[in-house]
């Protein structure tokens, strides 16, 4: 098995500080809280009536408005929307980097890792040491850190580049190091904020395959934000369309699992055009 060892019980000691409420009962999560890693037994992420307002008074901006969303264990959900739909705000809230103004966020004590559009690697460390730092934050012993970092880099096909610094790698390779680093955090939930937005189409295509393989191997729950409708249709088990200013769920599309998909598959193209039509309709509302 390529899946890192998972512990039972709530694992995030900072859960309360981060705005997660592991003890709170949210419909749909049932008794699965804190038992992360068992696929398909309930919700990994539940957002209930979440709102986020920036600023106060008449100048306040409502980025997210009473948004409710449930992501099942092991599910791959893509969030699509035009500018100003609060996609990134939403991820920050789920990651505990930001607090919602109202509403509830529950990740059931699962560990959450986040990936950004930029790899955000530390330029003074080699690829291996970047991954090791994430393990160090988890207080993994030194020898074990090294062994696991190499193993994770191997999972993203970068073992031979372990001792290169970020600037010596290509954009796609850096993003894979970032993925290895996110996996090192031993998370059950991976939040991705347009992670392939800055890459060329060919590299992106290959990384879609990589991500799909790694997520299914490790039974990861993924919340993936993108403005690329095709990408969403290619990757997601479900595509969630958000409205803009304020962000709300306006449509959800289930993607039937019918064998391998490619970015140029007919089913992907069909879904993408349906979603795009709905998205255009939504955008014209703001015209």
């Amino acid at each position: 098995m390529n899946v890192l060892q998972r512990n039972g019980g709530p694992r995030d000691p900072n859960a309360l500080l981060n705005g997660h409420r592991p003890g709170e009962s949210v419909p749909g999560t049932g008794g699965t809280k804190g038992t992360g890693g068992t696929k398909g037994t309930g919700a990994a992420i539940s957002l209930t009536e979440v709102s986020k307002v920036y600023g106060r008074g008449p100048g306040a901006v409502r980025a997210v408005d009473r948004l409710s969303l449930t992501v099942g264990d092991g599910e791959f959900v893509c969030l699509v929307g035009a500018s100003g739909c609060g996609k990134s705000t939403l991820l920050s809230i789920v990651a505990g980097l930001d607090m919602p103004t109202a509403g509830q966020v529950d990740t059931g004590g699962r560990r959450v890792a986040i990936m950004f559009q930029e790899p955000a690697l530390f330029p003074w460390l080699t690829a291996r040491r970047n991954v090791e730092l994430a393990l160090r934050a988890l207080k993994v012993a030194k020898d074990e850190r090294r062994r696991r970092a190499i193993q994770l880099l191997e999972a993203v096909h970068l073992r031979d580049f372990a001792d290169k610094r970020p600037h010596e790698l290509s954009g796609g390779m850096r993003q894979r190091v970032a993925l290895a680093r996110a996996l090192a955090q031993n998370a059950d939930v991976l939040l991705m904020d347009e992670p392939f937005g800055a890459l060329d189409a060919m590299t992106r295509d290959l990384l879609h395959d990589e991500l799909e393989r790694i997520c299914s191997e490790r039974s990861l729950t993924v919340l993936f934000v993108t403005h690329n409708v095709r990408e969403a249709a290619r990757l997601g088990d479900r595509v969630v369309l958000l409205s803009s200013r304020p962000g709300r769920v306006i449509e959800e599309y289930d993607v039937p699992r019918t064998g391998p998909r490619r970015i140029d598959s007919a089913s992907v193209a069909d879904l993408a055009s349906t979603v795009t039509d709905r998205l255009r309709e939504e955008m014209s509302r703001h015209g």
Partner: protein, 304 residues
């Protein structure tokens, strides 16, 4: 799934081949030129600007000598570069010059280390505490613009004509630059890296040690270099102003040359001071270059 880890990287063979192929295409061909030819070229690139600078200085000296500006050339008080350097060579055979260099270097190291410790501690504290940062930011910048020589009357009244007075002014000159370098580095830690560090679970001291300090290193180094320049200048001013009886220093030798109307002697000591300055600066530049190379912050021309 269970078999993916046993041999080589996981994934289907064609997928793996595609991704490793793309990696090698994107990295392109990197020339790893080695051998004596490359070393010699590197050494030459490093030395020729300095040789040219020395040549230009000698030409200026010769022109000054030929201009007979002071009317003393005929009297033999001013010598050309040839005779002047011979004089300097002569002085280098005597212990006096080395003793002076030793005293000056010792004061320089002591003063700079003091400034380093004080500046770093102040910088670390101020950058951690926002209200303090707001309150002292302008004071630190203000101190930097204050010419160090203006501190000497105060320092001499406080410490008397002693090394302490010189060290005091050196620290006042250098510590603000060093503190400012560290504060700037902390201020400009990329927010994205901070976000990444926080999601990884780095908090408090660990966040500081593994993220903020390494991220601040280039700015801190710039502060250290600037601090050295201030410390060195304060030291020279101090040794000219604060004459400590019975202690030979480069400042005293310069003073003696002035008293004896010995232009050539003054030039010789100035050359020594210049060389020390250039050597220390080269050490700072080398360190700075090495740090920036590791982080991929060099342009093509710089890394050549």
């Amino acid at each position: 799934m269970a078999s993916t880890q046993t041999s080589g990287p996981p994934g289907t063979a064609s997928q793996t081949a595609a991704i490793t192929g793309l990696d090698s295409l994107e990295l392109g061909v990197v020339s790893t030129g080695r051998g004596p030819g490359r070393l010699a070229r590197k050494a030459w690139t490093a030395t020729w600007p300095k040789l040219l600078a020395i040549g230009l200085a000698l030409v200026a000296w010769q022109l000054f000598y030929l201009s007979n500006f002071h009317g003393d050339t005929a009297a033999g008080l001013v010598k050309g570069p040839g005779a002047g350097l011979a004089d300097l060579w002569d002085q280098m055979q005597h212990a006096q010059l080395w003793q002076a260099i030793g005293t000056t270097a010792q004061t320089a190291v002591t003063g700079y280390l003091l400034a380093l410790v004080i500046g770093s501690v102040i910088g670390a504290i101020v950058s951690r505490i926002p209200p303090l940062r707001a309150a002292t930011g302008s004071i630190i910048s203000g101190l930097q613009t204050m010419p160090s020589i203006a501190w000497f009357p105060f320092a001499i009244i406080l410490f008397g004509t002693s090394v302490s007075a010189i060290l005091f002014v050196m620290v006042l000159g250098a510590a603000p630059s060093i503190a400012n370098g560290l504060i700037t580095g902390v201020d400009y830690t990329p927010p994205l890296l901070l976000r990444a560090g926080r999601t990884m679970g780095l908090r408090g001291i660990a966040l500081y040690r593994h993220l903020i300090l390494p991220a601040s290193l280039p700015a801190y180094l710039a502060g250290l270099k600037q601090g050295w320049a201030f410390a060195w200048r304060s030291l020279m001013a101090g040794q000219l102003l604060v004459i400590i009886v019975g202690q030979l220093s480069l400042g005293i030798l310069l003073n003696n040359a002035q008293d004896n109307q010995d232009l050539t002697g003054a030039i010789s000591i100035m050359i020594v001071i210049l060389i020390i300055g250039i050597v220390v600066d080269a050490i700072f530049s080398k360190t700075d270059l090495a740090v920036r190379r590791r982080r991929g912050l060099l342009t093509e021309a710089q890394s050549a």
